[in-house]
């Protein structure tokens, strides 16, 4: 009837509104994803080489004494995990995937684990599960700002150096390309160098020579200047990677939401037209049968 058709029209209209919103979000995420990816790609060579320098320092024959950040600890007691998620949802399984992997990895960890949450969503999920949160960062400058992110890295470094924590892990979504993003958990401190073949841990492979470095100016100044900085830089790179992943995942999620909304709208429209046709047919039927009755009932004919 007319009232049910009105209801249907209203329904179609609201689905249309949703499609508009998701389409807009998709467009926004597309441009953000493009920017974040570009920034990530531009920064990657520097980050990789900086990391190599740190590795080269760590595997010096006197590696342990080069810098306390490169020093493995016997009998570690406390671990810290930096967990990178987003402030906003509507990004498919992006945040959940990170948290799921983090919980899986750290729930039965041999040592107590504290967390630093970067991103509101992850912070909420960890707090909800009553995890020990050392710090939570949200509403960070976007795209990631090196100075701001370095302060997060510095916090971890300080707490490592004062022996509050003996290990630091970095958990984030690594952006491989538009179609592949994966959650990784990487040990940031203390640094463990992996010698040998590829693919054991691609981050920690190094140049084959083991020669001892000379330093200019003197060793401590050089090492103190670069080791903490380059380790913080890894946090920055992780945030960039996570941002690129976030926007890409949201873009895809919004794309399929828009597609679903359109499909739904089409089937609703179809149903609406069918009902309308039926109503019209019924009305015509009423009229014509009424007319017939009148004719039949007219004795003058």
């Amino acid at each position: 009837m007319a009232s049910s058709r009105n209801e249907m029209r209203f329904h179609i209209h609201s689905v249309g509104n949703i499609a508009q919103v998701t389409r807009a979000l998709e467009a926004v995420s597309t441009s953000k994803a493009r920017k974040a990816t570009k920034l990530l790609k531009a920064t990657r060579p520097y980050v990789e080489r900086a990391w190599k320098v740190v590795l080269h320092l760590a595997r010096q024959p006197d590696g342990a004494s080069v810098h306390p950040l490169l020093e493995a600890r016997r009998d570690p007691k406390q671990a810290l995990a930096i967990v990178i998620t987003s402030d906003r949802g509507l990004a498919g399984g992006y945040n959940m995937n990170v948290i799921r992997k983090v919980l899986k990895n750290f729930n039965d960890f041999p040592r107590p684990v504290s967390y630093v949450a970067v991103g509101k969503r992850g912070g909420e999920m960890l707090a909800h599960r009553e995890k020990d949160l050392l710090a939570e960062y949200s509403k960070l400058i976007a795209p990631a700002d090196l100075k701001q992110i370095s302060s997060i890295g510095n916090l971890a470094i300080e707490r490592f150096l004062d022996h509050s924590y003996d290990e630091v892990y970095l958990c984030y979504t690594e952006f491989i390309d538009r179609f592949v993003q994966r959650v990784v958990i990487r040990k940031l401190l203390p640094l463990e160098v992996v010698f040998g073949e590829k693919e054991i841990d691609s981050y920690n492979q190094t140049h084959p020579t083991r020669a001892i470095f000379a330093y200019e100016p003197e060793k401590n100044r050089v090492v103190d200047a670069i080791v903490p900085r380059y380790i913080s830089l890894q946090v920055y790179a992780a945030v960039l990677s996570a941002e690129a992943s976030e926007h890409t995942v949201r873009m895809l999620a919004m794309h399929s939401a828009t597609k679903n909304a359109k499909e739904l709208m089409n089937s609703l429209k179809m149903a609406y037209h069918k009902t309308r046709q039926k109503d019209i047919t019924n009305e015509i039927l009423d009229i014509s049968s009424g007319a017939e009755m009148l004719q039949e009932g007219n004795p003058n004919r």
Binding site: A42, P45, V53, E216, V222
Partner: protein
């Protein structure tokens, strides 16, 4: 025998290629590096990097950073760097004058802005030095 040289900043790879001789502005003075140099880690100050291959010499400006030297490679992690060809001499002169004018009225500037101006001035000076010493005929 050449040495592989890379100049990388956070924004991009400025240079990547082979070299016979690379000259760097080390904190303690200029350092010349030939292939098979012993491993060295050095802090760089503001200055000029020269990369020579055969008879050709490429010139870059660098504004702080770190250089890691291995016998077969030099990795320069620059805080900022650019090739001589990318420097616009007129623009640099103007930037320099702007910074100098601003610094004359120092008391009006906030601390951040003042730092920024000093930075701009230092960079302009390095750029102009590079242009005057190494650029032929152009400009």
């Amino acid at each position: 025998m050449t040495i592989h040289c890379e100049i990388v900043t956070q924004e991009r790879i400025v240079f990547q290629g082979e070299a016979d001789l690379v000259t760097l502005p080390g904190e303690a003075g200029e350092i010349g590096i030939l292939p098979h140099h012993s491993p060295l880690l050095t802090v760089l100050k503001y200055g000029i990097i020269k990369v020579r291959l055969a008879e050709a010499e490429k010139v870059f400006t660098v504004f702080g950073g770190v250089a890691e030297i291995q016998p077969d490679q030099i990795t320069i992690l620059a805080d900022a760097a650019e090739s001589l060809n990318e420097i616009d001499a007129h623009e640099t002169e103007e930037a320099k004058h702007r910074a100098e004018r601003a610094l004359k009225k120092k008391d009006r500037l906030t601390e951040d802005v003042e730092m920024e101006m000093w930075e701009a001035l230092r960079r302009s000076n390095v750029r102009l030095e590079a242009v005057h010493r190494f650029r032929q005929s152009r400009d």
